[in-house]
């Protein structure tokens, strides 16, 4: 058993190596590179706790290795009977009191930050222009209703940078959890109107931030991704203006898209909306063309869109679009031509000049 020390050291080094290799994760996804106030505050708390743990850990491990090396039974001393100590008042007091003190050091900022993060009433001066958004989690997408702005949209959440944006979170089927790790911690969305949650998010810089559902919500839970698009306040205002004034009945340019529009209005509109409308069965598609991803996960291009329209079940098992119209699960599948037309229509829905690219350009 002499290899004990050696083996753990190798293990340890190996671990460090792996970590450096993988870095701290993907920027704008990882919680280890905070890009927003909430994540920042939490990161500090995390680091404080890590420091405390390292201190305690070093002490424990020092005693541990000392004991294991020093007090192993020697071959020539098998009959040695150690002194049978009952305990030691001083030592026992020591390792009761010191942890208590360390925990107090951790508890105070914990409580403070818990209250700070829960403070969801805007301050007096911000009251007027604070953005408040009702977020609804649905299997397996997100819907946003901007209070007072008459904008409703889905999947990509546009927010202005540098200010606290207030969220009211609910769900319309099962519990989901709204999480944008590099901006802030998560909060559950509860079904029913009795348990609406509130939180705020504040992105420091412009950017496209990864959001994930963090509460098991069915087969496609892992695919319920979304994006938060933080743009400058001016850009945000323009985006809001564009979205508000969207002409929901504009005639598309290409013929194929016009045919697509017809198809859309005949069958898709029952579940999806274009223009401000409450959360339906499916996501609001007003600015579909500028979505970062299709269905939250596929790169936004025509090929993927056609694939999605025709075989949604293969891409997101258990989603509510499957079987609602002519896709794989139905008797008369959507023809390739129809899918093509629909795609053409959807991919020109682009009411605002403010798109994720604006946010990304700033990064």
């Amino acid at each position: 058993m002499k290899g004990w020390m050696g083996k753990s050291r190798v293990l340890f080094l190996f671990g460090i190596m792996l970590l450096t290799l993988s870095g701290c994760g993907l920027p704008n996804l990882t919680a280890l590179e905070p890009k927003g106030e909430g994540a920042d505050v939490i990161y500090d708390l995390m680091m404080l706790s890590v420091i405390i743990m390292v201190v305690v850990g070093v002490i424990v491990m020092a005693i541990y290795f000392f004991v294991l090396i020093r007090y192993r039974q020697k071959d020539d001393n098998q009959d040695y009977i150690p002194k049978q100590t009952e305990g030691n008042k001083f030592l026992e007091l020591l390792w009761t009191v010191v942890p208590i003190l360390l925990l107090v050091v951790l508890a105070v900022p914990t409580v403070q930050k818990t209250f700070m993060l829960a403070d969801t009433t805007p301050s007096e001066e911000d009251k007027e222009d604070a953005v408040t958004i009702e977020v609804t989690g649905k299997q397996y997408w997100w819907h946003y209703n901007y209070n007072g702005l008459e904008i409703q949209t889905s999947q990509d959440l546009y927010i202005p940078t540098g200010e606290r944006v207030y969220l009211k979170l609910a769900a319309s089927d099962v519990i989901h959890s709204f999480w944008v790790p590099s901006i802030s911690g998560k909060m559950d969305t509860n079904p029913g109107d009795g348990n609406v949650n509130e939180m705020w998010i504040n992105a420091y810089e412009e950017g496209v931030y990864y959001g994930k559902c963090a509460e098991l919500c069915g087969p496609s839970h892992s695919l319920m991704s979304f994006k938060v698009i933080a743009v400058s306040p001016e850009e945000f205002d323009q985006w809001a203006e564009d979205m508000k004034n969207v002409d929901t009945d504009a005639t598309p340019e290409s013929e194929s898209a016009q045919a697509g529009k017809e198809l859309f209005n005949n069958s898709c509109i029952g579940c999806h909306a274009i223009g401000s409308a409450p959360a339906g069965v499916g996501p609001n598609l007003t600015n579909f063309a500028s979505r970062v991803k299709i269905a939250g996960i596929l790169d936004n291009n025509k090929q993927n869109l056609i694939k999605w329209l025709q075989h949604p079940e293969e891409i997101k098992p258990g989603n509510k679009m499957t079987g609602k119209y002519g896709n794989t699960e139905a008797k008369n599948p959507l023809t390739s031509e129809e899918a093509d037309q629909l795609a053409d229509y959807l991919l020109q829905l682009n009411p605002s000049d403010i798109t994720p690219e604006d946010a990304e350009a700033q990064e």
């Binding site: 290799l21 994760g25 996804l29 995390m46 009952e86 998560k186 496609s220």
Partner: protein
């Protein structure tokens, strides 16, 4: 040894013997076998999970299948593997450690086992028709609206198994209170017995909350009630509370007996009395007490508000103090000792840093604000596998090596034991350490697949490789068990130079345990006799007739009835004809309760003369 008996008695007779046994040592073996099989099943599920997550965007299993796998993995491991394996250890050791001939309620002990067993079988039958898929926590409304019968199996299986656990808990409580040998005061009980006691207390007060939660879910799913349906005025948060009011104490139910076991092992293999015995007892009780006041730390992101979150955060952190007391007392038991690195000790020594790391993760999670980041990510998965695998599973391995002689009268090979340890230990850290980082890097838990290009690939691959190493370790352990059983080499009653009463009698013990009840003169009674006496326990009574309970088939039948009724309940949703099965099942159960109630069961005596001839000690 059981196989030797088997050859003597023939297979049928042995089987019947085990189906009807009320002997705590045989029940321990039953728990060991059933729990072991369920552990393998849970481990297999874990391997499938890890294979699915080995590479990004994998399609090894389907999304629906994945959710079934994690649900069954969690449920199986907690309820059907860890708990029964701990019950196996408690059953073999507690009566022996307190110098009792038997447990307080041998009949109920057997009933507890069979209820657990049938509950577990019921749950696993769901694999053939679609397993539960709402996570082991079964949060409503996902669980109440989950199609198919998977969650129904979860509800019925856990209800039946849970009843068994509750009964088992009460049995241990009364056994420890009423059946101690003369001189075995509370403050002389071995730590394992103490922790078994406190764990049983936790079972007694935690399981009823689960029982009610499961009933409510059963009513919602099967009989149209509205407890968790917001449209009808229900509230799913009630389920979360009930589940965790049970669920948090449950994790201490799992780990406390293991703490006790490690205390015994460390003291034995350091040749030292446990350092700070009374502080250890006090810490155990305190952990148990605090364990009931922290459950909402699993619900920090539910939205309870900052006041509730802060209170529960502080209460949770407080548990680090008594746990720390334990860690340091273990270290100082070894301090100045003469440490023998046997296999049980090896697992124990590996446990200390592993569990401490897991505990650190726990305290970090307890910081409510920070938990908004950790919650429902792989950070949590890492935390609880560190405490559960690094604590409970290491503990079960240690305990099995330690008490194998008392189970079967043979010794597991030390060489193979150590050979199994290393891959398991290294694999364990590989699998779970990196998961802390995966979580913080943005990987939520219960994710069927993670997407490529999110810097999560390497970490997941490492984790999977670690899991393979663990499986190798587990297989070597199995090999060890088989080899040992085939060889069947007998060992003495006291192969480890033990300190407590179980080592004062032969391995395996005769079915009446102690020919004469021993007189206990202090903590570590056998050690005292070895140092100050002739190395043998002084009897507290003259040799006399021993009263023993009768075997009974009723526990099996009673549990079978519930098992049958369980199917009825599950399928009456589709067709009310299935209610017939409910009646048949309940009739069997109530009928056998009736029989139990009206039939006198007075047991029998082993006569003094037979004892002198050495009956029972094969």
């Amino acid at each position: 040894m059981s196989t030797a008996t088997a050859q003597k008695k023939g297979f049928g007779a042995t089987l019947w013997d085990y189906l009807t046994t009320v002997d705590h040592k045989k029940i321990a073996i039953l728990y060991l076998i059933a729990g072991g099989i369920f552990f393998l099943a849970g481990g297999l599920e874990a391997m499938l999970i890890r294979i699915q997550l080995a590479v990004p965007d994998n399609d090894f299993v389907s999304a629906g299948m994945y959710n079934q796998l994690i649900t069954m993995h969690g449920t199986t491991m907690i309820f059907l593997a860890a708990m029964p394996l701990i019950f196996a250890l408690m059953n073999i050791a507690v009566p022996l450690q307190i110098g009792a001939r038997d447990v307080a309620f041998p009949f109920l002990n057997s009933l507890g086992f069979w209820l657990f067993f049938f509950g577990g079988v019921l749950l696993n039958i769901s694999w053939f028709t679609g397993a539960p898929d709402a996570g082991w926590t079964a949060y409503a409304p996902l669980s109440t609206t989950s199609p198919g019968h998977g969650v129904d199996y979860y509800v019925m299986g856990l209800q039946i198994a849970g009843a068994g656990t509750l009964i088992g808990g009460i049995n241990f409580l009364v056994t420890i209170v009423n059946m101690r040998a003369p001189g075995m005061t509370y403050m002389r009980m071995p730590l394992f017995t103490w922790t078994a006691f406190v764990t049983s207390v936790l079972i007694l007060f935690a399981f009823p909350a689960l029982t009610v939660g499961l009933f409510l879910m059963m009513f919602d799913r099967m009989f149209g009630a509205n407890f968790f349906d917001p449209q009808m005025g229900g509230n799913h948060v009630i389920w979360e509370h009930l589940f965790w009011i049970f669920g948090h104490p449950e994790v201490y139910i799992l780990v406390l007996p293991i703490f006790g076991l490690f205390s015994d092992i460390i003291s034995t293999f350091s040749k030292k009395r446990l350092f700070g015995y009374s502080a250890m007892v006090f810490a155990t009780v305190l952990i148990g007490f605090l364990g009931f006041m922290v459950w909402a730390h699993h619900m920090f992101t539910t939205g309870l508000g900052p006041v509730a979150n802060s209170i529960f955060a502080i209460a949770t952190m407080a548990i680090a103090v008594p746990t720390g007391i334990k860690i340091f007392n273990w270290l100082f038991t070894m301090w100045g000792g003469s440490i023998r690195m046997t296999t049980p000790m090896l697992w124990t020594v590996a446990f200390i840093p592993s569990f401490t790391l897991g505990g650190f993760g726990g305290v970090m999670l307890a910081a409510a604000a920070a938990d908004y980041q950790y919650h429902d990510t792989y950070f949590v998965v890492a935390h609880f596998h560190y405490v559960i695998v690094g604590g409970v599973v290491f503990g079960v391995f240690a305990g099995l090596h330690y008490w194998w002689p008392k189970f079967f009268g043979t010794m597991l090979s030390e060489k193979l034991g150590k050979l199994a340890f290393w891959p398991f230990f290294i694999g364990f850290h590989l699998t779970f350490f990196i998961q802390h980082f995966l979580g913080l890097m943005g990987m939520p838990r219960r994710y069927w697949k993670f997407l490529p290009d999110q810097n999560l690939d390497l970490g997941n691959l490492v984790s999977t490789i670690g899991a393979v190493l663990m499986a190798i370790g587990a297989v070597i352990f199995l090999y060890n068990v088989i080899v040992t059983s085939v060889k069947g080499e007998k060992v003495s009653g006291d192969p480890w130079d033990g300190r407590t009463l179980e080592w004062s009698i032969p391995s395996p013990p005769p079915f009446y345990n102690f020919t004469q009840t021993p007189l206990v003169r202090g903590l570590d009674p056998l050690w005292i006799e070895k140092r100050q006496g002739n190395g043998k326990m002084t009897p507290a009574e003259p040799l006399g007739d021993i009263h023993m309970p009768n075997n009974s088939f009723i526990p099996f039948v009673m549990s079978l009835g519930l098992f049958i009724a369980g199917f009825g309940f599950i399928y009456q949703v589709d067709d009310s004809k299935w209610l017939g099965l409910v009646f048949v099942g309940m009739l069997i159960t109530l009928g056998s309760m009736f029989v139990r109630s009206v039939k006198d069961d007075l047991g029998y005596h082993i006569h003094k003369e037979d004892l002198e001839k050495g009956a029972g000690s094969e």
